[in-house]
């Protein structure tokens, strides 16, 4: 294992985060605060409790997940797409590094950043709603697992993308709708039976539901099912990445 390489990539990527600290960290904090002001305070005060939880508190896990998903995909895809675009990827491809080391470096850094952002958002939300976390370890576990899984997905996206448009396309047109329809702002039990069934095909539902369970101890889906789903998505992403780098798809001619 070439740990020096993993460390080099990880530090390089983290340096990028801290260089753009305003854009990287303040933007999600501001966006989340706006959500709380609008959905939590303004609209939320007129909403009834969901599953016995005040609306403003109910949306906290959903909002955290929304940001963690978007940030994980965004960071990891940019991290690997940028060297591809600028040409500096030659160095990565000609260096004595394995797939595992490359993925560990890039995905590790992207996941670290989104976990940090998730925690910052959580802290921000504490200013707006009384926060209680029933299963803190499970909460951290879900957060880490989700950040990792979607950073892997973002890495895949960055390798697949051949233009900036494509890089924006998937998050904007697929991930954002899936997240919004994944129960960020409502319980899927509130949907008519047909839509509830359809929703179960949306993987994001399991993430948000499981994460919410770790806060309030209740959820529309069994938390074990949620964890299984996250792990399953992660395994699929890992397998795809292993195949891509071995075959050289989109990287080596």
């Amino acid at each position: 294992m070439n740990w020096h390489a993993v460390r080099a990539i990880y530090r390089f990527e983290m340096a990028r985060t801290f260089r753009t600290v305003v854009q990287s960290i303040l933007t999600p904090v501001l966006t989340t605060s706006l959500y709380f002001v609008v959905f939590g305070s303004a609209i939320g005060s007129r909403m009834t409790d969901i599953d016995g939880i005040p609306f403003a508190a109910f949306i906290v896990p959903g909002l955290v997940m929304l940001s963690v998903l978007t940030e994980s995909i965004g960071n990891a895809s940019f991290g690997i797409y940028f060297p591809k675009w600028s040409g500096t990827i030659y160095e990565l491809l000609s260096a004595p590094v394995s797939t595992a080391e490359i993925v560990l470096g890039y995905v590790g850094a992207a996941a670290t950043k989104s976990i940090m952002i998730g925690l910052i958002i959580l802290a921000t939300s504490a200013f707006f709603v009384p926060l209680s976390v029933l299963h803190p370890l499970m909460m951290l576990g879900f957060l880490a697992l989700t950040a990792l899984t979607f950073s892997l997905f973002g890495f895949l996206l960055g390798i697949w993308a051949t233009s900036w448009e494509k890089l924006q396309f998937v998050p904007a047109l697929i991930i954002t709708p899936l997240t919004f329809l994944g129960g960020s702002f409502y319980s899927i039990d509130m949907l008519p039976p047909v839509w509830r069934t359809i929703t179960l095909f949306n993987p994001v539902v399991y993430l948000i539901s499981g994460f919410r369970w770790s806060f309030y101890g209740q959820s529309a889906i069994n938390p074990l099912v949620s964890i299984t789903m996250v792990v399953l998505i992660m395994v699929v992403c890992l397998a795809l990445i292993a195949w891509i780098i071995r075959s050289g798809w989109r990287l080596r001619h």
């Binding site: 020096h4 080099a8 990028r16 600028s86 990565l92 260096a95 004595p96 590094v97 001619h253």
Partner: protein
């Protein structure tokens, strides 16, 4: 000298059907400077790409110090440094950070003293805290060289190192390359500047349309293919070469005012004194004489044209 790089039957056909390399065989000796010459699209960059792991070969194999670059990539790549032709550098990082990143990527622990030595040698030390995007093209090229040197390669590929680099910097770079060779590094460079190959290389390979058409010791190549000429500028024009001089197969140009004696080897050169004696015996007067040698460039052009 032992071989440090063995290229065997290397071929590459791109998915679009373009054959960039046709069964190339080449052995590079340890510690030499090998120049690969060829026109655009000849396959130079593809060849380097395969050795460095950027391009997958269709046929054949490459051994770097005995390690197959495909089967034992880690062992092979540790030995190889690459400075590609395209200027591709990180934009927002500082020079020093980018160079340190390269060292880590190749699995080496940090070594500040070495980083400083490399940066000083390439006169980048004063710019170490500058963001790379603020550097000129020539400076960026130096950063790329520094990135390749900082992981201490045994084999260094320089793909068109002088592209877009001013004369002074080019001289600096040549000196740096010679220093590396003296330190035991094997260097393979591709170039358009024949002057560069002539100046630096120990051996020269000419590649055209995916085929290595010639590999030769530089001085040997110059000797074999280098045509030399002696020109005598006469005071009076001649209609034809006088018969006593027929044995030299001279040609008349400039309307009979210049006699040209062409030769390729030392035996030809040794005939010059007798030729000059015979010229005066024939009663010819000349006001000037000139000798000239074909450059590597002429050789190269004629080789590529033949195909």
């Amino acid at each position: 000298m032992p071989a440090v790089l063995c290229i065997e039957n290397l071929g590459k056909t791109y998915p679009g059907g373009l054959t960039a390399l046709k069964s190339v065989n080449l052995t590079i000796q340890q510690g030499e400077i090998f120049a690969l010459l060829g026109p655009n699209g000849a396959g130079k960059t593809t060849l380097i790409g395969i050795v460095c792991g950027l391009v997958n070969a269709t046929t054949g194999r490459v051994l770097a110090a005995g390690h197959d670059v495909k089967r034992e990539p880690r062992a092979a790549r540790r030995l190889i440094g690459l400075v590609p032709q395209e200027l591709a550098t990180e934009a927002f990082e500082t020079v020093e950070a980018a160079v340190k990143f390269s060292r880590g990527l190749y699995g080496h622990p940090p070594d500040q003293a070495l980083v400083e030595r490399v940066l000083r040698r390439l006169t980048l030390w004063d710019k170490r805290d500058t963001k790379i995007m603020a550097l000129s093209g020539g400076m960026k090229r130096r950063v790329m060289i520094a990135k390749a040197l900082v992981h201490e390669p045994k084999i260094l590929f320089l793909d068109e190192p002088s592209a877009g680099v001013d004369v002074e910097l080019r001289r600096d770079m040549w000196q740096a390359v010679r220093d590396l060779r003296d330190a035991g590094v094997t260097i393979i460079l591709t170039t358009h500047y024949i002057e560069e190959a002539e100046e630096m290389a120990d051996r020269i390979g000419v590649i055209n349309k995916g085929e290595l058409i010639l590999v030769e010791d530089k001085t040997e190549l110059m000797r074999k293919l280098g045509r030399r000429e002696l020109r005598l500028h006469l005071t009076d024009a001649l209609h034809e070469v006088p018969s006593p001089l027929a044995a030299y197969s001279l040609t008349l140009i400039d309307g009979g005012l210049t006699l040209v004696f062409s030769f390729t080897d030392e035996a030809g050169q040794e005939r010059i004194p007798t030729l000059l004696r015979d010229v005066s015996l024939a009663g010819l007067n000349f006001r000037d004489l000139q000798t000239q040698q074909t450059s590597l460039e002429d050789i190269f052009v004629s080789l590529v044209k033949e195909r």
